[in-house]
């Protein structure tokens, strides 16, 4: 459907800084989160998890656990074989079997090997402690680059050299090269670009493994009713409808016999979709005839909620001496852990698509190798493949600027895709919708006072202080649609009902978990109908309420879900228009919606309630007219949206300790039309904080035996408010032509852009010591060693 065929919202409420209507209840502790769900007769589930990274299970002794008070069931992976399906994967790539509770081999620390169901959580844990597991250890595979030589051993027999996937993409690779035959790749253009290059930048770069660290851990409550039969399952999932589909199938039910409810959630960040524990809870509820609850504890969250990033890139940039980039080549090795979860192998493939950054790079080629190791599987986390790409590109641009002694802003300006080039198809294959990159760069430089910053930096350096400035220009890929781009469906669903009293109840399949949909979506509908947002309630997060949905992932909710809602709204408006015209004896073209009324300008007016009364008490309706005012719509975007922004970070490195203090952080973002600036700022600020973390402190570390060393917040450092300066933020607005709202999405922007800006700043601070590159996280000791080396 063409975007311009649908009505845009008016504008009274869109653009207003409305406080989130969700917050008063959440702030007062009145939200219903997963652990608040308590059902009569509910039993508690706990898992015995492997403390060995790789090995064969020799024996699981459950005899002591079975005899303990309150214990209803103890089961091993072997007991559950055939009862439970494997943990689902929806990528088009081959993947190994992944049992929810392993019957034979363990492949990461934290993998479930047995479970207990007991009458309370304490009894369940006591029994778990009494289970004795004997494992014959195998060598642990922890180094991705060694792993892809098959060293020290194989994780899965069917995957030679531990390689899960190898894909070559970009220039010279046939468009439909599903075969990925290296012989079919045409290298001529790539080779020519590097042979004729005046400058070549070559750098190995590492994106550390990190933990999504949602403030609320995962959880599930499953209730199976045998007599109907029907499964109701509460779960911390960002995708209730997909969750229902897999859970119903797991129990041999139809989707019509299952309901997934996603209660309030303390963050998802891409890591909360569908896990093995959910299947276990559902199957055991059926087996035991009682509701089953499992709540992940924080230690389990570090070990068993999907990790992210962990990609090593060898990046080569070909350029002219004037700064024009002529080609980019990347070899990427992604350590995806021991198994695949819902989208594990898909996430690193997203990196290729953004390797053009904001630049018109004519030749782009990447080779991606995904490798299994004895670690927790990776999956989506805020940015999902994009932070990796932008980190590689923006570090490379900084290296190029240094090599050419150019202002980093000018190197970027030189290569920008120009406004008249949109829609612009990059050599990496994506079609960017719209952008005015230079305008945004200039806005950022002005907001930062770039020239003064540079002068102050020079003065500080003259005093011997290690002050550095770093810049990044990021692109985000949003919306993930149409369905050709996202095999599981790139659409969203919405419904709008004008109730008998004239108020509106709406539903969206884009299940929110902290994004503020109830506020921002109401603003959109309020303008569409000419009413106040307070007259609208948005419901979501329950498959019995929202008929269909894909979910809140990939910064897509407003773009896709918001538009679906508008589509449903316009159907309702059409019906109201017809009814109002009948009541007022006017022509439909004369009917307007304004100030909470429907009517003719300068003429008769009707309240929404009056129109609704006509619609729902159909005594007066012409014969054959369908009564009621409730409509629904699906909407699939014609293409993806590409918001962008520019960040500038200033750091000072303590020469004595190696600590990098973030002194200023300036950013300008463009996410197209802004419905609620307060919510967008919240997204940007939280995103920036989550991007600063991996630059400076966040890093999951495993030892050579595959033991997680950073298994708690005592060892894994996410940034605290006191670690961050007040962000100086601005916006430009370049609407997307691909949806009637003009929105682009903003959920992941800050995370993508912040990491390279901060790393660039620290490297800049160290540059006078001869430092050219440092991989994050920039722990003080790592930086201190560089300073010592530089001064020696």
């Amino acid at each position: 459907m063409a975007a311009n065929a649908t009505p845009s919202p008016g504008g009274k409420h869109v653009g207003q800084r409305l406080k989130r209507r969700e917050d008063p209840a959440l702030i007062r502790g009145q939200g219903t989160f997963i652990d608040d769900v308590r059902l009569p007769g509910m039993l508690h589930l706990a898992f015995k998890r492997s403390d060995v990274a790789h090995g064969r299970i020799v024996r699981v002794d459950t005899s002591a656990a079975r005899a303990m008070p309150g214990v209803r069931l103890v089961a091993t992976g072997a007991d559950l074989q055939g009862v439970l399906p494997n943990v689902p994967v929806i990528t088009p790539f081959p993947y190994p079997d992944h049992p929810a509770v392993t019957p034979d081999k363990v492949r990461y620390v934290g993998e479930p090997v047995a479970l207990v169901v007991a009458e309370d959580r304490y009894q369940a844990q006591d029994a778990v402690e009494a289970i004795e597991v004997t494992i014959e250890e195998l060598p642990a595979v922890v180094d991705a680059e060694a792993a892809l030589r098959g060293e020290p051993t194989l994780l899965h027999e069917d995957f030679v050299n531990n390689v899960a996937l190898r894909i070559i993409s970009g220039t010279g690779v046939a468009e439909a090269a599903g075969t990925q035959d290296p012989e079919a790749v045409d290298d001529r253009e790539l080779e020519a670009a590097f042979e004729t290059a005046e400058v070549v930048i070559s750098q190995r770069m590492v994106n550390p493994r990190i933990a999504p660290s949602a403030i609320e851990t995962r959880g599930v409550v499953a209730q199976y009713e045998a007599t109907r039969p029907y499964l109701t399952i509460w779960s911390t999932t960002q995708r209730p409808h997909a969750h229902r589909r897999f859970l119903a199938a797991a129990l041999g039910l139809g989707e019509h016999q299952a309901r997934t409810i996603a209660p309030e959630m303390g963050g998802g960040f891409g890591a909360k979709k569908i896990y093995g524990e959910d299947f276990v809870a559902a199957a055991l509820s059926k087996q035991l005839g009682a509701p089953i609850k499992w709540i992940e504890d924080r230690s389990e969250a570090f070990l068993t909620t999907t990790h992210a990033r962990d990609v090593i890139g060898q990046i080569e940039l070909a350029a002219k001496r004037d700064g024009t980039v002529t080609a980019l080549k990347a070899r990427l090795v992604a350590d995806i852990g021991a198994y695949e979860m819902l989208l594990t192998a898909f996430i690193p493939t997203l990196t290729h698509g953004l390797l053009s950054g904001g630049y018109a790079i004519p030749v782009i080629r990447s080779e991606l190798i995904e490798v299994f190791t004895n670690k927790m599987p990776t999956d989506a986390y805020r940015g999902a493949g994009m932070p990796e790409a932008i980190f590689f590109v923006e570090r490379s641009m900084e290296l190029l600027a240094r090599e050419l002694r150019m202002d980093p802003a000018e190197v970027r300006r030189k290569n920008f895709i120009r406004p008249e080039q949109f829609p612009y198809k990059t050599a990496a294959g994506n079609e960017y919708d719209s952008g005015e990159y230079e305008r945004l760069l200039d806005a950022t430089l002005e907001l930062a006072g770039w020239e003064e910053m540079r002068a102050e930096q020079a003065a500080a350096r003259a005093e011997g202080r290690l002050v550095g400035l770093g810049m990044s220009f990021y692109i985000e890929l949003c919306a993930i649609g149409p369905s050709t781009m996202f095999p599981d469906g790139g659409w969203e669903h919405g419904s709008v009902t004008v109730e008998r009293d004239g108020r509106i109840t709406a539903t969206t399949g884009a299940s929110a978990h902290g994004q503020g949909h109830e506020t921002s979506f109401a603003q959109v509908l309020a303008d569409q109908f000419g009413i106040e947002p307070g007259a609208i309630t948005l419901l979501h997060g329950d498959t019995a309420v929202a008929k269909q949905g894909v979910g809140t992932v990939a910064s897509r909710s407003l773009v896709v879900g918001g538009t679906a809602l508008l589509m449903a709204g316009s159907k309702v408006k059409a019906k109201m228009t017809r009814f109002a015209a009948q009541l007022l004896e006017a022509r439909e073209e004369e009917i307007e919606f304004a100030n909470g009324e429907v009517g003719v300008a300068g003429g008769g007016k009707l309240s929404f309630e009056e129109v609704a009364s006509y619609a729902y008490a159909p005594q007066q309706l012409p014969a054959g007219t369908e009564p009621g005012l409730s409509e629904e719509a699906f909407w699939e975007p014609p293409g993806m949206t590409f918001p962008y922004g520019c960040y500038i970070a200033q750091v000072e490195v303590d020469r004595e300790t190696g600590e990098a203090e973030l002194q200023r952080f300036v950013g300008v973002d463009d996410c197209g039309t802004i419905v609620n600036p307060l919510i967008v700022e919240g997204q940007i600020q939280g995103g920036i904080a989550q991007g600063i973390g991996p630059a400076l402190t966040e890093e999951l570390r495993y030892d050579e035996h595959g033991q997680l060393l950073t298994g708690s917040f005592m060892d894994y450092a996410i940034p605290r408010a006191s670690d961050l300066p007040r962000f100086e933020l601005g916006v430009t607005v370049t609407p997307s032509p691909l949806n009637p709202l003009g929105a682009k999405g903003t959920g992941e922007a800050g995370t993508i852009g912040a990491t390279p800006a901060v790393v660039n700043a620290v490297v800049d601070a160290l540059s006078e010591l001869g430092v050219r590159h440092v991989d994050p996280a920039l722990h003080p000791e790592k930086v201190w060693r560089l300073i010592r080396g530089g001064e020696r």
Partner: protein, 289 residues
């Protein structure tokens, strides 16, 4: 992170607390702020059968000046140390160190007595107490006794506290010329290395006065808080200037064995940071003279 079963008792007097601990043959622990003990119990590293809560014992918390000494009750919370007018006035090092502990939640629950009894090798207050030459008043089944902080900390999570004994109060002399400087471990905000310096500087000589007495103690560097005797020796009799402070701080690692070495900081780094933070603590202490 689900603890094993335990019995919880709340004591209303010190005698009752000692009786509740003494009457059971099973493992019993005093509970103050709980910010060390409860996490260990949730990981089942510690599985006491009984907790005796001493947070409701009157008179066990508070800060007072008496007979030229400063006393701090064992269950005084970090936030109370941080905000105490008395400490800010006569012992600013204690307020300063307390303000750098953990995060606001920890500072509102954790207590000085709990921190000293637990003796985490990276805790802040043990170094401050050693530098200030504080006395700990201890009560137990055998009656009352007092021990110097320096002797109290004996090794890795090891202190001079017998079964059933309870710290009731810390006592020390006022000293303005004392300071605490710390390199934060970025996740836990324990000290990667922390140094407390307490100086006696000859009056009347202005900024570059002569150091007549110095007690300098480190935490985070080794198994427990201990004095940096090389630094102290180097400072005494010296006119405090940048050069003499740096020279003294260089001696920080002297005599310290079993240097900590973990993913947050190698032994080499910690040794160097001990020098850096010794210098910072001494400079700040000297500036307060």
């Amino acid at each position: 992170m689900i603890p094993a079963a335990f019995d919880y008792r709340r004591a209303k007097t010190i005698d009752e607390a000692l009786a509740l601990i003494g009457e059971t043959a099973e493992e019993a622990r005093f509970l103050a702020g709980g910010h060390s003990l409860i996490p260990l119990m949730k990981l089942r590293f510690s599985q006491p059968d009984r907790l005796v809560d001493i947070m409701h014992v009157p008179g066990l918390a508070g800060i007072w000046e008496r007979n030229g000494q400063v006393g701090i009750g064992a269950t005084t919370r970090y936030v109370e140390l941080e905000r105490s007018r008395i400490l800010q006035d006569v012992l600013p090092v204690v307020a300063e160190a307390a303000g750098e502990i953990g995060d606001p939640q920890v500072r509102h629950r954790g207590t000085i007595g709990g921190s000293l009894a637990h003796a985490d090798p990276a805790a802040d207050l043990p170094a401050v107490m050693v530098a200030l030459d504080a006395f700990l008043d201890i009560v137990g089944p055998q009656g009352r006794r007092r021990v110097q902080a320096e002797d109290f900390f004996q090794g890795f999570f090891t202190v001079d506290l017998a079964e059933g004994e309870l710290i009731t109060e810390m006592r020390m002399l006022p000293r303005r010329a004392a300071a605490y400087a710390k390199l934060h471990q970025k996740a836990s905000h324990f000290a990667l290395v922390g140094v407390a310096a307490a100086l006696e500087i000859e009056a009347g000589n202005g900024a570059g006065g002569v150091c007549r007495g110095a007690r300098v103690a480190v935490t985070g560097l080794s198994t427990h808080a201990q004095r940096l005797r090389g630094v102290e020796a180097s400072l005494i009799g010296e006119r405090l200037a940048e050069e003499s402070i740096r020279a003294a701080a260089e001696r920080a690692p002297e005599g310290i064995e079993e240097i900590n070495d973990d993913l947050h900081g190698s032994a080499e780094y910690r040794r160097e940071m001990a020098k850096v933070f010794a210098a910072r603590a001494i400079r700040r202490a000297a500036a307060r003279a």
